[in-house]
Symmetry: C2
Subunit: 451 residues, 2 copies
Amino acid sequence: MAQKPSIPKGTRDFSPVEMAKRNYIFNTIREVYALYGFQQIETPAMENLSTLMGKYGEEGDKLLFKILNSGDFLHGMTAEEVATTSTQRLAAKFCEKGLRYDLTVPFARYVVQHREELALPFKRYQIQPVWRADRPQKGRYREFYQCDADVVGSESLLNEVELMQIIDTVFTRFGVRVCIKINNRKILSGIAEMIGQADKIVDITVAIDKLDKIGLEAVNAELAEDGIPAEAIEKLQPIIQLSGTNAEKLQTMRSVLAGSETGLKGVEECEYILSKLTALNNPMELDLTLARGLNYYTGAIFEVKALDVEIGSITGGGRYDNLTGIFGMPGLSGVGISFGADRIFDVLNQLDLYPKETINATKLLFVNFGEAETDFCLPVLAKVRAAGVAAEIYPDAAKMKKQMSYANAKQIPFVALVGENEMAAGKLTLKNMETGEQSLVTADELVEKLK
Amino acid sequence: MAQKPSIPKGTRDFSPVEMAKRNYIFNTIREVYALYGFQQIETPAMENLSTLMGKYGEEGDKLLFKILNSGDFLHGMTAEEVATTSTQRLAAKFCEKGLRYDLTVPFARYVVQHREELALPFKRYQIQPVWRADRPQKGRYREFYQCDADVVGSESLLNEVELMQIIDTVFTRFGVRVCIKINNRKILSGIAEMIGQADKIVDITVAIDKLDKIGLEAVNAELAEDGIPAEAIEKLQPIIQLSGTNAEKLQTMRSVLAGSETGLKGVEECEYILSKLTALNNPMELDLTLARGLNYYTGAIFEVKALDVEIGSITGGGRYDNLTGIFGMPGLSGVGISFGADRIFDVLNQLDLYPKETINATKLLFVNFGEAETDFCLPVLAKVRAAGVAAEIYPDAAKMKKQMSYANAKQIPFVALVGENEMAAGKLTLKNMETGEQSLVTADELVEKLK
């Protein structure tokens, strides 16, 4: 036999059970997005490289999968020119198109390209794969799905509130206990402004984040190591030791940031979002160490952690002020979230939270005893399906054992047996595969039992 | 403003209304596949080029989108080597991976790669995009979806019967009147055998297909032009003039093909399939001019035409005997169908058959009159959504006209209005956007009305 075929590293096949689980995840997210008035769009897998290049930093450019131009991709270049041109520039000459690296840049491109058709605010969701030429490792793939929702064209913080409700609703439906954390880029800017260390904000949040693990003294030592002056570290003390309820934290922040207009704006925004969510009984936690996507987000920042599984952030997002500016359409504010489908898949697996009915598809198998029995079964099978019950007939009159092991492999809960006696009586024997219980039923009773 | 961004030619963005329509199509197909016990799988967009090359003929190889290897794709090639290597071989050196060209070859690769996990017969469906570097033109795209279902590992003709039932069920659900045509490769082989012209079978079916348009004499003239001897044309007469019911046609074929074992086997197979489908009240038409995928199919061949729209085949399929042989696993018979989603989209558009509720997503918009009103509305909104009704609040307290035009643009059928009077009464004004009718209701009444 020839060598077993394989797939590119970092990519995956999804088998029926995995697909059923993934569909459960995607469908749940899709349903909740729709419940909140978000509309789905899709963009092509391939984008022009001019759309993608320069949007993800130098490192990101290297991780783009580029598609070789069809036909004569050398396009008249001499061998000499090829040999003396850098690989990167050659790639740019040979390739006009690349695979989507995320859903955000294609969305920005979409908004600009279709702006005349869009009724703003535009609430869109998008669930599609993206591709990155990253080094594959556990939990990191070269092809994976993103599940984004964004609102563009509205600066209202109600959008933030609704996105947090969406997160809460989705994880409630999954039955996963989570902690939803919120922060605000403006608060972080205010802190940096206040201590005169704008470029150190990441170091500061990283150090503060270690408080529980290493204690106050070690945190202060680390800050000093990061080159933050003693005076600034002194000023940071109330922030490092920030504790209490969200309201108490905000109270402290308000006094610490009294001198920073930006910082106070951040506190105010957090306050608005948290008060609305408290009224709606959606608990969240203010966490100043949350500092994701700092080059990108300009207002609220969100992150979700699973409480019962050790795993990184399973959902995140935030407010950005100039998404479409890169495509020549400035001043359009947006806010969005993204569910991490692969990690949610792992969480639901570990907690065994998939509803059984999402995985078991076929409910009834008609055992095949031969032509005459098949002719008896086919109209009943049609009736069962017409009632919306997924059912099959084993296509060959194979040995009983083989047919039963097929039913077991597919975890089909019921089989229908029809032999001479049943045909004579115009009935079917229905067997419950779990209990082994059998009963003789008419076609109508069969349908009634399975519906 | 910068130049408007664009997408690669032959690709498409799908806007919310198009997405809703496409989802309706995909979901209908998906539901019916599941009803018949087919399980979904997905394979990666990228396959190793070694998996794809040589599977679609020389022309197909050229139409594969190839992905440039990451990093130093030149891999130390000298100018000399570049100069003396053909573009096609260079492409093979620079690229290890390509984009999926169809779902059939990846499925065959999947079956071989996962054979130890599969319970045969394996009934899988797959709905994913494919990519072809074809010259784009009206109705032909470089990225498009295929919706395939196949059964492998069973030679039973019941599989053919069920696939025909699936086609019938899907188009019945769509409300599209279709003609389902069936033929058999073995009958065509028998005809060729009988007249000693195996290589002329395509010419023969093309000529026969013109009978209605050009008449018998012209058909015979064309056959002669194709180089078919007079004696053979004479033998073909009963086939060219074949008419009547399926049973009558089969009767004629049986006598014409009396000398061909293969031909008679084909007649027998058709007979079996047609008799089962007749018993199930699923009409089909035997059509000897159906000659799709001749290099590929070995038994039954299917094709579906819409009766009320001028468009090519909207679904097709057939039986193939050695799909996985190319990957070193011979002897596994399979049969499959593929719905042409893009053409079905056009058909449903032309006949205006999309159910209204699939397109209109949000059912209720709360008009935003300011902070106090919003605080009143938010818990009601949460209640409406908890009842499963898609609803929104306009995020900004914008001018009434702007909010109403948003509702119109999204075709939202109801709006809720809450001002001082409503808040005082603890009620909401519900307005039907179509009739203009307004009523004052409690939150519970609102939910009840919209559910």
